[in-house]
């Protein structure tokens, strides 16, 4: 079996790298697995939220008295039930969150800032009564002018969302507040000198619309608060420790008194890293003295949970005539929604990350507008900026008459390349993914009329973070594994495989669960492509503890010194002279005598995982444009991406395919459509058009593996990078198919048709 030498860690791999059946699979294919809305407590009440009908308004008064008097209503909460929070930024990854904003997003205080903004919540004995109660809450609004579009929101005369928002990152501090929360910038070299060296310059502007993560499972939570303040929460979340922290903070509870259990989660993609219903359910339960269950409708999900930013982007790139990139400039204007905190900072850092360019300058603006506050969405910020840059790279390729893959190879970041955001890259796989794409059959498949081929690359940093995992050996030699990051899609299988190989036990004997917040130390959330990377590291640490413990027990049993025993291939063995005298003992052998040799056997890994390695990917798409309808059909699609080491190849492929599908939707159909009244017009799956099975072909996934030297198995996070390249790859392919460069997403049929008509190109294909 192949051994891994990543980070000097050598363990025989029986399971890692194979395609095992996931241990939680049977429950999921039989409907037994319990997601957020599948859990109920005896005596529970139904919670519902009253939401703003206006895009922007001052709240003059809220009167809940009539609702409180309705029989069957057990509690009503408003802003008065949540203490105000001071303005204080807490890091939550790149999107620093401010609790003053969080408490206002959970329930509006002075103003409502988007249609759907929560204003009050009720708990009642039935759905019908809860709905009636909402109608009995009287809210007086003073409607204000609203602003939706990011560029509009930046104008000095735009309606102002926050009177105390002064643009940070600008010297001197502006005299007047505005909707521009922050300006950020990175630069390298001398951008003017760079452009002066260029033989070819391409300058373009792009727009993207907000798109939703589109998880099929709406937000759901059940909360139960006891008379002594102990609080239990069951919810669908990417981070139950984060939910605990937010609820404790917002409601003034001791963290230790709040226990959160993560249900199975029906998709998150970043959108379930924040709280919406949980604090409301807790507040209602506290008042009603009964459990409260709250579930969002699909309309509420679209109107009131964070999509990602819409944006306006300017890109200007310069290259020499032999294809060397000499200057990369960009201006990114990202819309943050009602409160500051768009992912413009990582967007700025990622824009030119795949390339070795001496002169780079990227400026970003974080802009508020009357839309739901944006939440993270798979590689937040990067898909938008890299859509723009990768489109311009393609135009450079065309102007220079260099193959787009060759142009990227010529300028690709490699080990030792200085990233635009500062540090040098370690070993990375961008070049490998470009070569992989060149070698596919797809790359040389002949294309017909109205067909085009496009390529684009992408990147995400990936993170590690605080992670705790435990391994417990049971009396019969089976191993209980407890991890602390919700399993979004295959994590339990991967961790069980690592544990099985570490301890030399059969995979079927390892039973993984996701522990609640009372069972483990703090775990950062599932996101940032970290759960397998960090979880595997923590399992390795837990296994090390067990191995050391078993060696110590064996040494005592065999009357040997510590350095005369070792753990190898699933057994403790005596080494040296005494080797033949002592039968090697497996984990299961020790399990039988655990009590007699010191007590139960277990290990606990508690780390702040560092050493995450970036994952680069390249996508290749063949598509066909129908000149009669403007519809774009994807014919062939390949994803080549660096996984470092694929613990479970099927689930790594699954990330590639799923991320690509989301990117295809983002490119071709998905967008938030607002009316002039600032209200969302397509708050449902019919008109918020995500890809369905008949829209897509098979998506070929190529696993490139450039091991991450900082991880015991060489793992790199893979979940986010796949959504970064598709939009540009598709825009590039459409350009080849039609000669038209589309710069505004989505490239939906009406837009394509309009552009074709304007150029007199919309006649039917030959022979039809």
């Amino acid at each position: 079996m192949p051994q891994t030498n990543g980070n000097g860690h050598a363990v025989a791999q029986t399971y890692v790298g194979t395609r095992t059946v996931r241990p939680d699979g049977v429950d999921k294919v039989t409907g037994r697995a319990r997601f957020g809305a599948d859990f109920s407590l005896p005596g529970q009440l139904v919670g519902r939220v009253l939401r703003s009908p206006h895009a922007h308004a001052r709240i003059v008064a809220i009167d809940t008295s009539r609702a409180e008097q309705l029989p069957g209503v057990k509690a009503v909460v408003t802003r008065d039930d949540f203490p105000d929070q001071s303005s204080e930024f807490i890091p939550a990854g790149e999107m620093l969150i401010n609790y003053r904003d969080v408490v206002r997003n959970v329930l509006a205080r002075e103003k409502v800032l988007y249609e759907g903004h929560p204003v009050a919540a009720v708990a009642a004995t039935s759905v019908a009564i809860a709905k009636r109660a909402l109608k009995l809450i009287d809210v007086q609004y003073e409607v204000l002018p609203h602003v939706i579009d990011v560029v509009e929101a930046m104008r000095p005369d735009a309606p102002l969302l926050h009177e105390d928002l002064y643009t940070a990152g600008v010297e001197p501090k502006p005299a007047k507040p505005s909707n521009v929360a922050k300006r950020v910038e990175i630069s390298l070299g001398d951008i003017e000198a760079g452009f002066a060296k260029a033989d070819v310059i391409v300058e373009r502007e792009f727009t993207t619309q907000p798109v939703h993560q589109g998880y099929i499972e709406p937000h759901a939570a059940v909360a139960s608060v006891s008379e002594d303040g102990s609080t239990e929460i069951w919810c669908s979340t990417q981070g139950h420790f984060i939910v605990r922290a937010h609820c404790a903070r917002l409601l003034g509870l001791d963290i230790g008194k709040v226990r959160v259990t993560a249900s199975e989660i029906g998709g998150g993609f970043g959108g379930k890293t924040v709280v919406y219903l949980e604090p409301l359910a807790v507040a209602l339960s506290k008042k009603a003295k009964r459990p409260v269950k709250m579930v969002m409708s699909r309309e509420e999900v679209f109107k009131a949970s964070g999509p990602t930013s819409g944006a306006h982007i300017k890109v200007k790139m310069g290259a020499t005539k032999d294809g060397r990139f000499v200057a990369g400039y960009a201006e990114l204007r990202y819309q943050a929604g009602a409160f500051q905190g768009s992912p413009v900072q990582p967007g700025v850092m990622c824009a030119y990350a795949p390339y070795d360019i001496e002169n780079v300058k990227v400026i970003g603006y974080d802009v508020v507008s009357n839309r739901p506050k944006v939440a993270a969405y798979r590689a937040p910020g990067a898909p938008i900026s890299e859509f723009a840059v990768e489109s311009v790279v393609d135009e450079l390729a065309k102007k220079l008459e260099i193959d787009p893959v060759e142009l990227r190879l010529q300028n690709a970041a490699r080990e030792g390349t200085k990233a635009a955001y500062g540090p040098k890259f370690g070993p990375i796989g961008l070049v490998d993914t470009l070569h992989a794409v060149e070698k596919t059959n797809q790359y040389t498949t002949p294309l017909g009329e109205w067909q085009g081929r496009g390529v684009a690359s992408g990147f995400w940093f990936n993170i590690g973070g605080e992670t705790c995992a435990s391994l417990t050996v049971n009396e019969d030699g089976t191993v209980s594994l407890m991890a602390g990051t919700p399993d979004i899609g295959g994590l339990r299988a991967s961790l069980a495989m690592v544990a099985a190989d570490e301890l030399g036990v059969p995979y079927e004997k390892v039973r993984p669960i996701i522990g609640d917040t009372g069972s483990l130390g703090f775990n950062f959330l599932t996101g940032g492509s970290r759960s397998c990377f960090s979880g595997a590291m923590a399992i390795v640490e837990a296994a090390k503890e067990i191995k050391a413990d078993l060696c110590a027990r064996a040494a005592k049993l065999w009357d040997l010194k510590a350095d005369q025993v070792e753990f190898k291939d699933g057994h403790v063995r005596a080494t040296g002279a005494g080797a033949d005298k002592h039968t090697p003992m497996s984990v299961a052998d020790f399990a039988k005598v655990a009590g007699k040799t010191g007590g139960p056997i277990g290990g606990y890994g508690r780390i702040n995982a560092q050493g995450a390695g970036p994952s680069f990917g390249t996508h290749l798409v063949d598509l066909e444009v129908d000149p009669e309808t403007g519809r774009v059909t994807i014919l062939r699609y390949t994803v080549a991406q660096d996984a470092g080491k694929a613990i479970h190849p099927s689930y790594v492929e699954g990330q590639y395919q799923g991320g690509a599908a989301q990117g295809i939707g983002w490119a071709l159909n998905e967008e938030y459509i607002y009316g002039a009244d600032g209200k969302l017009q397509n708050a449902g799956f019919l008109d918020y058009r995500m890809p369905v099975a008949s829209d897509l072909p098979m998506i070929d996934a190529i696993l490139v593996e450039v091991p991450n030297p900082r991880h015991p198995y060489g793992v790199r996070g893979v979940g986010e990078t796949p959504i970064v390249p598709p939009m540009a790859a598709i825009a590039n392919a459409i350009e080849r198919a039609t000669g038209i460069r589309f710069t505004d997403l989505p490239i939906s049929p009406p837009k394509v048709l309009k552009a074709l008509r304007e150029r007199g190109l919309n006649h039917p294909k030959n022979g039809s």
């Binding site: 930024f89 990854g93 790149e94 300006r183 969405y377 500062g422 605080e466 492509s529 702040n608 050493g611």
Partner: protein
Amino acid sequence: MARVVLVGNLVQLTGGVAQFDLPATSVKHLFALLAERHPALAPHLEEGVAVAIDGQIYQDTLLEPIAPDSEVFVMPQIAGG
């Protein structure tokens, strides 16, 4: 001396100075040295930055050692979705 570079908006808090040669022995020590020279940096350093040491990005690690000839970047924090 570690060669330290500030990336992004932090440069505005140092009056435009982006590069430093500092005898920092750990991330915690680095933050202390930077804050000494530019007190406005202090609140931003403890929370909200990542530190890259010789190409490897670290987040939330005060105790990580820095070697005498390391190349260090102080940059905005990152997470994901």
